[in-house]
Symmetry: D2
Subunit: 348 residues, 4 copies
Amino acid sequence: MPVPDHSYRPAPGSSSAHTASAVPVYEPDKDDLVFSFGGVDWRWRVRPGQVFEVFTEDCFCGRLRAVTDLPSQCIEYPFVNPQTGPFYVEGAEPGDTLAVHLVGVEPARDWAVSTTVPLFGALTSSKYTPTLQSPLPEMTWIYQVDLQARQVLFAARDSDHQVSLPMEPFLGTIGVAPAAREVRSAVVPEAFGGNMDTPEAKPGATLYFGVNEPGALLSLGDGHYRMGEGEVCGVAVEGAMRTRLIVEIIKGVYCEWPRIEDDDFIMVAGSYRPLEDAYRIAHTELVRWVAQETQLSLMDSYQLVSQTSLPRIANVCDPNYTIVARMPKRVLPDVSWMGGAHSRLRAS
Amino acid sequence: MPVPDHSYRPAPGSSSAHTASAVPVYEPDKDDLVFSFGGVDWRWRVRPGQVFEVFTEDCFCGRLRAVTDLPSQCIEYPFVNPQTGPFYVEGAEPGDTLAVHLVGVEPARDWAVSTTVPLFGALTSSKYTPTLQSPLPEMTWIYQVDLQARQVLFAARDSDHQVSLPMEPFLGTIGVAPAAREVRSAVVPEAFGGNMDTPEAKPGATLYFGVNEPGALLSLGDGHYRMGEGEVCGVAVEGAMRTRLIVEIIKGVYCEWPRIEDDDFIMVAGSYRPLEDAYRIAHTELVRWVAQETQLSLMDSYQLVSQTSLPRIANVCDPNYTIVARMPKRVLPDVSWMGGAHSRLRAS
Amino acid sequence: MPVPDHSYRPAPGSSSAHTASAVPVYEPDKDDLVFSFGGVDWRWRVRPGQVFEVFTEDCFCGRLRAVTDLPSQCIEYPFVNPQTGPFYVEGAEPGDTLAVHLVGVEPARDWAVSTTVPLFGALTSSKYTPTLQSPLPEMTWIYQVDLQARQVLFAARDSDHQVSLPMEPFLGTIGVAPAAREVRSAVVPEAFGGNMDTPEAKPGATLYFGVNEPGALLSLGDGHYRMGEGEVCGVAVEGAMRTRLIVEIIKGVYCEWPRIEDDDFIMVAGSYRPLEDAYRIAHTELVRWVAQETQLSLMDSYQLVSQTSLPRIANVCDPNYTIVARMPKRVLPDVSWMGGAHSRLRAS
Amino acid sequence: MPVPDHSYRPAPGSSSAHTASAVPVYEPDKDDLVFSFGGVDWRWRVRPGQVFEVFTEDCFCGRLRAVTDLPSQCIEYPFVNPQTGPFYVEGAEPGDTLAVHLVGVEPARDWAVSTTVPLFGALTSSKYTPTLQSPLPEMTWIYQVDLQARQVLFAARDSDHQVSLPMEPFLGTIGVAPAAREVRSAVVPEAFGGNMDTPEAKPGATLYFGVNEPGALLSLGDGHYRMGEGEVCGVAVEGAMRTRLIVEIIKGVYCEWPRIEDDDFIMVAGSYRPLEDAYRIAHTELVRWVAQETQLSLMDSYQLVSQTSLPRIANVCDPNYTIVARMPKRVLPDVSWMGGAHSRLRAS
């Protein structure tokens, strides 16, 4: 499903892995962009334990570059939210879990873009919550990015208010091929990960995905230079990104829903509707995970999670909504979560 | 609606305002406890600008004191979540807004309690999300409280895991008489406030409630010594509390939904079901509030909120769920929110 | 909470019970209209076994009489959906169930009205599902009613399409005082009944409500001359109504949620959000009811309900949504549901 | 994705189209069964205007044949709900609509089966609405089918209650390849149709699906001999089916959501969560359809739909829930819906 026409111009000869440095770089040509999880052949093979770098286009295929560019004019659904991948991870088999450690997630441009999109977002009627009302106006905001100061600049469209906001880059979308041979649009988050839009997919985090297809078929994209939690209007401060990552396979363990670990927290991402079901998914998985890996009983785990969890709303705008349950590790018995994968990858 | 029988014993002669110090103290006798917002006569009158102190019982009327005490044996619905109040605020008229600044919220005991309650909580079927399954076990946890170290001690019931958790006291329930002469159980949050279970009702915060009845009829209770966000199991670390507060009336301005302000954030609490509707309520109100008080257009406000808001899940267990939209003031034009009430009350 | 000003003019001397005929008639004066369930003193006393007649105003207090009359101009919230009552039923005590048999529900006028109401209805954003969009137009439709032919006439506003629709009168609102001393606006349906907007509240039906307050405090109103299921736009073909009814008390049995019985079906009304929770409430109650009154096990009841129930969507527009689970009696073991109350009242 | 092992034995030589009679018969071999919409190559080609017959297995691949057979023992997810197809319809192009008229839907066996499935169904926690509770018991019911009397026999498992229920056969699942190259499990309903579980997919009905892939790729299965509306326990009276159908292509018209038409009603199926969103989808599409094809304005259409629509709850158990909006044609201006496709196909 190649994107039919776009303005993105990769560097010459950049369409596959560079090995000039010790770190292979995967930079997709325009025809390499994919718009789904599942349903496409792998583009590159990667080995566990090898750091590699991935270039990802922004969610608009790089085509919105001025406030006069509008999504409805520049983008043709379903060619939105392009992903780089899929990566075939050597040794990954269905029933395993793929651990993906994000070494670095860095903006690849000095500008970013946000918009409103007609009938998309949390504070408008939408495709799946329709009404008979007229849509909100479609507008575009361009953010100048100061890569040194690590700031993005909000400039109001209808007044002269401007304010610098901290750059807090993360990947809006990351995941593997879905279970049951499903193929899902890259705008959808579900058990396979995908468009979760969680700021927890940030440098220093390790994400765990249950493997459904040989090679896991990892894809990533939708870089956000920053975002309010929930992605209220449906669009973050969107930009192309360079991500360094390293993967590991946990054999014979299958995560039903994406798990995330950083130095301080274990987390579970639940994605569904209504939003309370996303919350229920994330928290039942978290409570059971704690009970499985510690000596805490299920009810003690439920109680301790109840008093200490710090969930974050990831998105309330995509076809499924996402909530990330977050549990501070320091209040839990000292165990090696997921067999210690995060610590190992962090040290790489 | 007095509580028919309970073990709470107030100090002798404590049933109304003390004036020994400069700060009047309102300590309810057992017959003064109320279990609703609206529907009861005011108990005390308070004046804007006067700091006063309020004792509130815990949500179990102080009757659960050992791990062998169970809610189903000690508590008779609807006599749960007792409130102290209502306070008649002199000068408050329907159409005004009541600003309530929490000067201090301090534990009144050196122990606290949490439980599971059959068919209550986010990870069980419940009265309003029923299934045919059996309920989870009913269990009680007692937390020892170190008031000096400001820690509460979690002690597992089924293993020997123990861990100290920071004391982070707040009021689970605070609000005024509802609109349209409704009377709501004290376990319900809605536009009048009530059982929002948000950690933002903490010392240093100012809460704004639209006034529906003469005197506003402020009540508070449900002290939490700490809580994970969302109150997953339906019960926080519950304890009696002493709260110092001061109120102000904002004439002729009516907040449709509770607003909260502290030194860093302006916030709106939305409470309804499904959870995305709580999110929508909180964020539409926040976006409109920003647009009303600044020179930002509605769409610029929507965009800036989208990139900077930090909402918190308050509860996913009560009859209505609560989400608090939170916007950092520093990214917004420098205005005096709500006429500067927070700054004035903070300085009192 | 009297309605402050309205155009309704009752017949002279009509403000309380008539006893000229064998059937007492309760016709409220304008100051007798109530706008809540709970929170008001009873107006009249009725005896079990005595047929009586009740006049109810339409949901707009009779003030919308032409297509140029708009709700936002003629009605002041919360003075909408006026109820006639409360009726104190002699002998009804908390913990009992009140059986209300509708002998007749007949239009009291030869016209009726429907409208759109800004930010109310299923296909618009609303108070509890807000967006930033503009509301739909506010419009009024007047229906001419042919009482002989039992037809109402839809006349399009923007074209000349007209069509006669069968008159199918029922009460949109009927219920008792809520539990836990709550007082709810008359636009809300919940466990006490209220604004369920179910066409099953029709002549020949018996409704069962758990009694929460002495005398039960029955109220009724919101006559609908006809309605599509779900009340999509939020307003039915609304009209004043004359209802003949007879009540019975079932001692020591308490229905948690409203039950309805007619000659062919047993039914349960569940009212909450999201809509699947209304469905869950209605169907868990139905499955348990069948298992309790027959020799069917819970799982056999679940199976038989699954293959034969014919639920109806009642409303998807009110503060709570309502679904009515409906089970044909003929497929069930032959038992006297609710002690045979429906049969007895039907025969009266 | 062939089913790995099952007991189904097709008649010898039955694996492709029979042309002995005028009606081609498509009878899948076990390796022909598919478990998704999209993602598989077409199996057979069909021509518009040609009646053909399709055999479909039951949702359990025919493996549950006694009350001692349990889904968890006999079925391996995702090999459930097998579909026959996909059928490549000659001439169907993306952007067209495929009209599918069901000439006949007849049971292919004299027995059928229903079960409970752990963590599936409306009255239990489930994969997407999880709790920490234990699942309900897994049980199987076998229904004897009297093909002459057109009755199925419910026999209680835990008592001797038996009752005959009318046979009302329909297809639980029917649809085309999804948009955006998605591939969805055959248990999911969405805009492409799929597992809608609506009794409206019955003999005499015409279903309209927007075409997303060349040939449309029609599949069908999940025959239900009868079902209560909503499919409460998640499983109907399931059985193999023989369906006669005929298709037509409506060029250049694309239905966003499945439409259904029979002699009396026009209908739209909306499938999503929460259930009110399924309701909103179905009814916005219905209101707009009426306004597009008649001279009624959008607001008049909204009003008339509000007073006359008779929606049916299709399922509240699948990954998406389905509601079917139903509008009686006789109250609408006399137009040829969808260009008169239903009338033409009905006459074939």
